[in-house]
């Protein structure tokens, strides 16, 4: 595995990078904000000119970035900025109006085994008649394949994943009897059980207790230490600098993307969150009205 090779190109000095941000026409190929076909082929995730629309109203517009290898990447932006949609589009869960997504240089459906996913907790019915271990075992289904039962080895792997999130004692507990934070950890364990290289996490920190938040942060750090990459939708701006190496500021389009200490500036945040009714929004409204 060539985790480190891409890292090397990615670590550039702040001034250097700021200059590139300011001058996107730079001749020299740049890893952070490449355009056209200049995307590196070995990036865990590269998104090319992605546009997604719901009922013809654009939700994401020309999103284009490469996620660097082995980083914790925060996806930050206001409500309705398209953060979840970006993840879903990467996972082929919503149709793309245009653009393409590559995972380690290949289309997603050829790389599923390398990708783990933590959906938002509220998207499922926690009254479902399964235990915590059953849910985590779903992370192994892809490896188990059609028609076969969950074998001992896969149960073992699922239990290990639960252990890693500190939930081994709750393996047999029915999921409705878990607290919100515990449910979130079960979801995380399910993604860990996938044993992936690239993780998408949709608001794993939403409405969890402090202990769970810390547990999740620790796991993220473990993942990074093991050379994995994680894209995490995050809401709490306060904690962004301490949790993430890299941020993607999103509001329908990419406002900025890059190392946290360069990109996570009040100026960029103002661009991301301030003045909701940009020209882009107005155009989107107009398109929706047209229909």
């Amino acid at each position: 595995m060539n985790y480190m090779t891409y890292d090397a190109t990615d670590i550039s000095t702040p001034t250097d990078d700021a200059a590139k941000q300011a001058a996107p026409e730079a001749v020299e190929p740049q890893p952070l904000r490449a355009s056209g076909d200049e995307h590196p082929t070995d990036a865990p995730l590269s998104v090319h000119d992605l546009t997604v629309a719901y009922h013809r109203k654009p939700v994401l517009w020309d999103v284009d970035f490469d996620a660097p290898q082995g980083k914790l990447i925060g996806i930050v932006g206001p409500n309705g900025a398209g953060k979840s949609t970006l993840i879903k589009a990467c996972l082929d869960l919503v149709p793309k109006a245009s653009g393409r997504v590559r995972v380690y240089g290949q289309p997603y459906d050829e790389q599923r085994g390398l990708v783990g996913y933590v959906p938002q907790r509220e998207t499922v019915d926690w009254d479902f008649p399964v235990s915590a271990l059953d849910v985590v075992a779903m992370g192994r289904y892809g490896k188990i394949g059609w028609f076969k039962r969950v074998s001992k080895a896969h149960r073992r792997a699922s239990l290990d994943a639960l252990e890693r999130v500190g939930m081994a004692d709750f393996a047999e507990r029915q999921i409705s009897q878990l607290s919100g934070g515990q449910q979130q950890r079960v979801f995380l364990a399910r993604a860990l059980a996938q044993d992936a290289q690239l993780y998408f996490m949709d608001e794993p920190f939403a409405a969890v207790d402090a202990a769970t938040e810390q547990a999740i942060v620790n796991i993220l750090h473990d993942l990074r230490d093991a050379g994995k990459t994680a894209l995490v939708v995050h809401h709490d701006l306060q904690t962004v600098p301490s949790y993430f190496d890299w941020v993607l500021l999103l509001n329908m389009r990419v406002v900025a993307a890059g190392p946290t200490d360069e990109v996570f500036t009040s100026d960029n945040l103002q661009k991301t969150y301030g003045g909701k009714l940009t020209l882009l929004d107005q155009a989107a409204e107009a398109m929706a009205r047209q229909q």
Partner: protein, 453 residues
Amino acid sequence: MLTTLAANTHDLSHHGATWADVVEVLTLRNYNTRLVVISTAVLSAAAGLIGSFMLLRKRSLMGDALSHATLPGICVAFLLHVAMGGDGRNMVGLLAGAAAGGLLGVGTVMLITRHTRLKSDAALGIVLSVFFAVGIALMPIAQRSGGAAAGLDTFIYGKPASMVMADAWMIAAVAGLVLIVCFGLFKEFAILCFDDSYAASQGWPIGWLDGVMLALVTVVTVVGLQAVGLILIIAMLIIPPAAARFWTHELWAMAVVAALLGGLSGWLGSTASAVFEDLPGGAIIVVVAASFFGLSMLFGRARGVVPRAWRHVVLSAKVGRQHLLRAVYERVEARGESGGRAVSFESLLAMRSWSARRLRRVIRSARRAGLVSRASDGSVRLTEAGRADAARVVRNHRLWEIYLINYADIAPSHVDRDADMIEHVLDAALVTRLERLLEERSGAVVPSSPHAI
């Protein structure tokens, strides 16, 4: 496989039922009864099984749209057969028409929800009523068409007694298919029902899996039309699974219990309608299933009302006894070594916010458990067993209080009430952890209270 729709003559044609009749039905000695009872039971079991997944997929009402939409399909198939020179009573043709109509109905629901902003409840309501209305409108046309349309309304209300051997084979085949597919695709259906977008992200073809599930519901509905009728078949897809959910927290167990309850309902319902000729079979099956649902809701082990209430009663009695033990213990402790060991009823009453009636009840319960004894003047004292128990209770309470004050930042004035709730559910493992955590503070067997009692 040509069979007739006409109701076959039935052996039990008396209006009243004698014991002999009942015994004959129950022992399944009669060929017709055996056929009807067994096939109805097998059909209902299959409906309960696939219905479990539909319920968890939150698609149960799709079955309702499907079943109602079979009627126009049946009528059209009938008219086509007449137009081709037949008498319309081609069972295979009619069932194929039913399936086509049903799938067309479901397809319409999907089209409406996908391409408009109408939600699925509106789409379902529109489709099931409109398709049913079209079917009803076609009925008189079918009746005037010259074919033998007399049996068509069997499909609406169901008439188990009209089943023949070919129907039984068809039901057996369908039930076998449902069983095999649900067993083979158990984990695939589970992930689909629990978290479809996650399943899709993993590459499971959720459209195909939904299609397989829908196909199974369609075949169950179509072969069940004769037994339960298209209005009521939905009951067999929803009620047994919903009842089963009260008994278990496990998916496979829920599916098995739903199949058992469904099968039992089909068995008892068709038996009852075989014994009492006037009882409409389809409706009775549903009523039986509903009574199972009622019993499950009340007594279901996992989440029935009564077991839950009982657990609450047991816990609150235990909590009451522990409160009493602690009150007596702390009273005696406050007096010191020289004080007596009997505590008056009045001083106990003053120690907590409990009514005299509740306190008397708690004392009675503790006495029965051999924890306290009562003197003739009404004062309470701990027995040997009671003292040991009380020491443990007080200890847990204080450990927990100390923990709350030191680690959870809860004000000492509030800590008593918070500890009150939790100490009763502390298990041994948790107590051990508390002990380790508070080791240096709690050298004593029972630590002293961290606040004024």
